[in-house]
């Protein structure tokens, strides 16, 4: 009886570890999707509505709490009127929240550069940057999804096999 319970615990533990790993991957992809959607909506907001950055960032609603919090923090710092350059604020806040964003260097670099799409003098310049950032992030998202899918194909079976071997050893 004890062995059965032990087996279930080991298998359950490995399965839940693998599940949370896959969930974390999905969350990261979801966050990147939300960021891409934010940049796309920003293009519309700039072109059609001439929104102001501070109010736009403050009022933006997203399904991802990390993105919302990041934008609110950027708006809060901009409101203080002590930063000569808005891009500095964008980078500062994203660096502080790097752990929450949890992307590899290349993707994180693109996210930092996306800020240039908001703080240029001319609308056309901003829109150009935003479109470029969206394209780069979409490519990065697709690459990352493929890479993660490959990893899952390897590590899920390995994890389960490892769990079974551990069970056999314990029995």
């Amino acid at each position: 009886m004890g062995k059965v319970i032990g087996m279930i615990c080991v298998l359950g533990g490995i399965a839940s570890f693998l599940y949370s790993w896959v969930l974390e991957q999905k969350k990261r992809h979801g966050r990147l999707e939300e960021l891409i959607m934010f940049l796309q909506k920003s293009i519309f907001a700039m072109e059609e509505e001439k929104v102001r950055i501070i109010e736009y960032f403050e009022g933006y609603k997203s399904r991802d709490a990390v993105l919302e919090d990041t934008l609110k923090e950027i708006a809060k710092r901009l409101r203080r009127n002590v930063y000569p350059d808005g891009q500095v604020v964008w980078e500062e806040v994203f660096w502080e929240k790097k752990a929450d964003w949890n992307y590899e260097e290349e993707t994180f670099g693109m996210i930092l550069a996306a800020g240039n799409g908001f703080f240029g003098r001319k609308r056309s310049e901003n829109l150009c940057f935003l479109r470029k950032s969206i394209k780069q992030l979409e490519m990065q998202r697709d690459k990352s999804k493929e890479k993660d899918a490959q990893e899952r194909k390897v590590w899920i079976p390995v994890g389960m096999l490892g769990g079974i071997m551990l069970m056999i050893i314990l029995i």
Partner: protein, 308 residues
């Protein structure tokens, strides 16, 4: 004055905290020079040479002024001014780019780049300054068609604004009148993000950033105004609308640039208005050497009726 101090570079704010704001009318910022403070009857430089504004400083100011959204204020910058919260106006100078594809082949400014100077006009709502004038402009329950005129910087818009407020609010003797304000340059109501920064009274409706001639036509059709107020009349089509207003039963309150009555009457458009009776009163505003203001009221033919 926090909203003004906060648009300056961080390094200059301490100096600005120490200045006297009493009677301050303008702060002029030019690249390579200290900021100039202009009061009623004098001017002085701000601080020492640590308060010289350079290119970076001006870019920093533009970020604060536009809320880091210079792209969203392209239209305002094209017009050469931006309105701040609190009703303060910032005039912008620099290198103008233009094209000549406007109506009738005229040039239209497409942008002002390489901004090199700012003129921050401090908004001073002087409630009650037009009280005596409005009393003398009354004509039954309404007023005479009136133009305020003076040299730049004397306070035409301030008096116009207060007149609108008094007329639209009313008092124990005279009920409030429906006033429609066509505020082409956002100077009268000083709209900032959809909200008027100046008090125009409870019966004032504002059409912001609309060309005067078009705006007067629109409000006449849709807002059933008793008075239409406009600032800085100058174009032929605007005076043409004044003549139309005369036939529609709506009274007009306007302003014009002119140093004195003779200068005003040399303007052909004004002469036409005098001939056809479109303007019934002219109010001349005068700045005295001590900075105080006084006024003279003339009838439609230029005869002096009242002098303070």
């Amino acid at each position: 004055m926090k909203e003004i101090i906060n648009i300056f570079p961080v390094a200059m704010r301490e100096s600005l905290q120490r200045i006297s704001w009493e009677g301050l009318e303008e702060i002029r910022v030019r690249i390579g020079w200290p900021a100039e403070l202009i009061y009623d009857n004098r001017s002085k430089w701000l601080g020492n040479y640590d308060t010289i504004v350079d290119r970076h400083g001006l870019d920093e100011m533009l970020n604060y002024i536009t809320g880091y959204s210079a792209y969203a204020m392209e239209e305002e910058l094209k017009q050469g001014f931006v309105t701040l919260s609190g009703g303060h106006r910032i005039g912008v100078t620099g290198h103008a780019t233009y094209d000549s594809n406007g109506k009738y082949g005229e040039c239209q400014v497409t942008n002002i780049v390489d901004i090199g100077g700012l003129n921050i006009r401090i908004a001073h709502e002087k409630k009650g300054c037009a009280k005596d004038i409005v009393l003398l402009l009354r004509n039954g329950q309404s007023i005479y068609n009136t133009i305020f005129f003076a040299a730049p910087g004397v306070g035409k818009t301030t008096y116009l604004r207060d007149a609108i407020r008094i007329l639209s609010t009313g008092d124990a003797v005279f009920p409030g009148i429906k006033c429609c304000v066509v505020d082409e340059r956002s100077e009268i109501a000083a709209y900032h993000m959809g909200k008027p920064q100046n008090d125009l009274g409870i019966r004032a409706d504002v059409l912001d950033a609309c060309p005067k001639e078009m705006g007067m036509r629109m409000v006449l059709r849709t807002m059933s105004p008793q008075i239409i107020a406009v600032d800085e009349l100058g174009k032929e089509e605007e005076f043409h609308m004044l003549e139309q207003m005369r036939c529609s039963g709506v009274k007009v309150l306007g302003t014009m640039h002119a140093g004195n009555l003779n200068e005003l009457f040399q303007n052909q458009l004004v002469k036409n208005c005098i001939q056809n009776g479109a303007v019934e009163r002219f109010v001349e505003l005068v700045r005295l050497p001590n900075g105080a203001r006084t006024f003279r009221i003339y009838d439609g033919q230029g005869n002096l009726l009242w002098e303070k």
